[in-house]
């Protein structure tokens, strides 16, 4: 057979017109599927929230204990408009966010620093790895009580708990990331002329970065838990106190409403961190 590129000679099925047609059909199918997924998500949301509301109104479950979506919504609106018993809602959010951010920052910087130092030093890591494993296995939330006793009801005790929650996660990841740094890349940098410090800054830290950033995602959630639990254990401001007040007043709607406020904060932070991660790791091939 002779090879030719003229379109008339193409067998039907692979000529330009039918290719365009097939493409149109395929793209339509992709769009349809996308729409299907979104509408199914909405259906799930409506069924769950509607079922909750309905069973509370029909007294299948006791709305006093389990509340219902409309009551939770009313509670949030009420907090926004009239403020909470401790002051305006946004102040509470701000206080908790401040504690979380401070704890997150201190904990992750310390974690990254210690992880890199220990990761680059074999003897230190052999000595300390045991103690870090032990410290990591203690449920650290318990330390909150100690911090409240020692540091008082102010911000310091919450920040301290958030730091402890964050530190170990970030440390473990930074340490692992440093240890996983490719030894050929390190040798390559050395032979190209890098000093020990240049190896650390230009090879070890960048290669540990994807590990560290992955841990920051998880640990922001941990910082939030630390701050809220700290407030729960004793404080004058914050969402944790809001929850504990609502609990004391048997106000189930209040607890759920505070939970939703927390979820919004956590989601916003996660979105922000993802954006930072994309910026810093743009050299990586796109995830499949």
């Amino acid at each position: 057979m002779s090879t030719t590129t003229s379109e008339q000679m193409m067998p039907s099925g692979i000529d330009a017109a039918s290719l365009a047609h097939v493409e149109r059909v395929a793209q339509k199918r992709i769009r349809q599927r996308h729409a299907l997924v979104i509408s199914l998500r909405i259906v799930v949301l409506v069924v769950v929230l509607g079922g909750w509301e309905l069973s509370a109104r029909l007294k299948w479950i006791d709305p006093f204990f389990f509340s219902m979506p409309s009551a939770i919504f009313d509670q949030i609106v009420d907090w926004f408009v009239n403020g909470t018993s401790q002051g305006p809602l946004l102040t509470q959010v701000w206080v908790t966010l401040e504690e979380t951010a401070l704890g997150f920052l201190i904990g992750s910087v310390a974690g990254v620093f210690c992880g890199i130092v220990l990761g680059r030093n074999k003897l230190l890591s052999d000595v300390f790895s045991l103690y870090i494993k032990i410290a990591n296995s203690i449920p650290r939330v318990v330390l909150g009580s100690v911090f409240v006793i020692a540091l008082g009801l102010g911000m310091a005790s919450k920040v301290a708990l958030a730091v402890v929650m964050v530190f170990f996660v970030v440390f473990a990841n930074a340490f692992q990331g440093v240890r996983e740094a490719d030894r050929f890349m390190i040798a390559n940098a050395q032979i190209l002329g890098a000093s020990r410090r240049q190896v650390t800054t230009s090879v070890v830290i960048p290669s540990a970065l994807s590990w560290i950033l992955a841990s920051l995602h998880v640990s922001f959630g941990f910082a939030l838990v630390g701050a809220v639990v700290g407030e729960f254990l004793g404080s004058k401001q914050g969402i944790g106190l809001l929850i504990s007040t609502a609990q004391g007043a048997f106000n189930a709607s209040g607890v759920f409403a505070a939970m939703i406020v927390l979820a919004v904060v956590a989601l916003a932070a996660d979105y922000l961190l993802t954006a930072v991660e994309h910026r810093l790791l743009k050299w990586r091939p796109a995830a499949v």
């Binding site: 390559n188 190209l192 230009s202």
Partner: protein, 264 residues
């Protein structure tokens, strides 16, 4: 500098070198036994041997990343003490930095060595042009093919103008066609400037490139035989392999190597 150093001092000299490894659990294995080799300036030497016999160990000792247990390694007439700045190394694995763009990768050497930014990048651009990647300076390594990444590695190494070039199976991960092209490119970039030690398990690659081929035995490796490759230069690796003399040499060496591969 050194009065004993002259044009006749070999670039690399290994005298009765043995190397013993201690594994992390405390066991000792011998990787290399009583190995001697001398590489003249501007000479291209290839080392072949069965897989895992200790070929790469020789290179590690020349760079100073590894110390010989007995014997002596000299570079440019002086005993090896740390990484010599006159040495360049191309790895088997992808050792370019994935978080740096191609241009930043090539500029790494001069920047590490304290050159100014503008000088380093000027030179990097020049080397990118030489390896035919001038349009890819802003790309990241994962966006390139395996052959292109190897070109980046070559440019990264050659920009330091090494007087000694060590290569550890640099092209073994490439497909046959790309490998042949890269071999030719290497010969052009090298062009007799500096000494090369090229470790490979590919016998034909060794013959096509080198002036002398060192054949190692199975582990613990020691020198089996040295072959002079008297094929004329400049060579084109894709054509030289059909030369009757090439086939003759390759048959001889393979005869030696086969026994060792069977032992290994």
């Amino acid at each position: 500098m050194n009065p004993s150093m002259s044009r006749d001092t070999p670039a690399i000299e290994m005298r009765n070198v043995s190397c013993r490894f201690i594994s992390p659990d405390g066991k000792a294995t011998i990787a290399l036994r009583d190995f001697s080799m001398s590489v003249a300036r501007g000479e291209f030497v290839a080392i072949v041997g069965p897989t895992g016999c200790g070929k790469s160990t020789t290179l590690s000792m020349i760079t100073g990343l590894l110390k010989p247990t007995t014997g002596e390694v000299r570079v440019m007439g002086a005993p090896v003490d740390g990484i010599d700045p006159r040495i360049g190394f191309v790895f088997q694995a992808d050792a370019v930095f994935p978080w740096r763009s191609v241009l930043d990768n090539v500029a790494a050497g001069p920047l590490y060595r304290g050159r100014s930014k503008s000088a380093a990048y000027d030179e990097a651009n020049e080397w990118l042009r030489r390896v035919g990647l001038d349009k890819f300076g802003k790309h990241y390594p994962h966006q390139l093919s395996g052959g292109m990444r190897k070109r980046v590695a070559l440019a990264q190494t050659f920009i330091n103008r090494p007087e000694i070039l060590l290569m550890d199976e640099p092209f073994s991960a490439l497909d046959m066609q790309t490998r042949t092209l890269m071999q030719d490119e290497l010969l052009q970039l090298w062009a007799g400037a500096g000494s090369v030690v090229f470790v490979t398990h590919d016998l034909e690659e060794a013959i096509a490139l080198a002036d002398r081929v060192f054949v190692l035995t199975a582990r613990p490796a020691t020198l089996k035989k040295v072959y002079e490759i008297d094929l004329p230069r400049p060579r084109v690796t894709s054509e030289v392999r059909y030369d009757p003399r090439f086939i003759e040499i390759s048959r001889d060496i393979w005869h030696d190597l086969r026994e060792e591969v069977q032992i290994g």
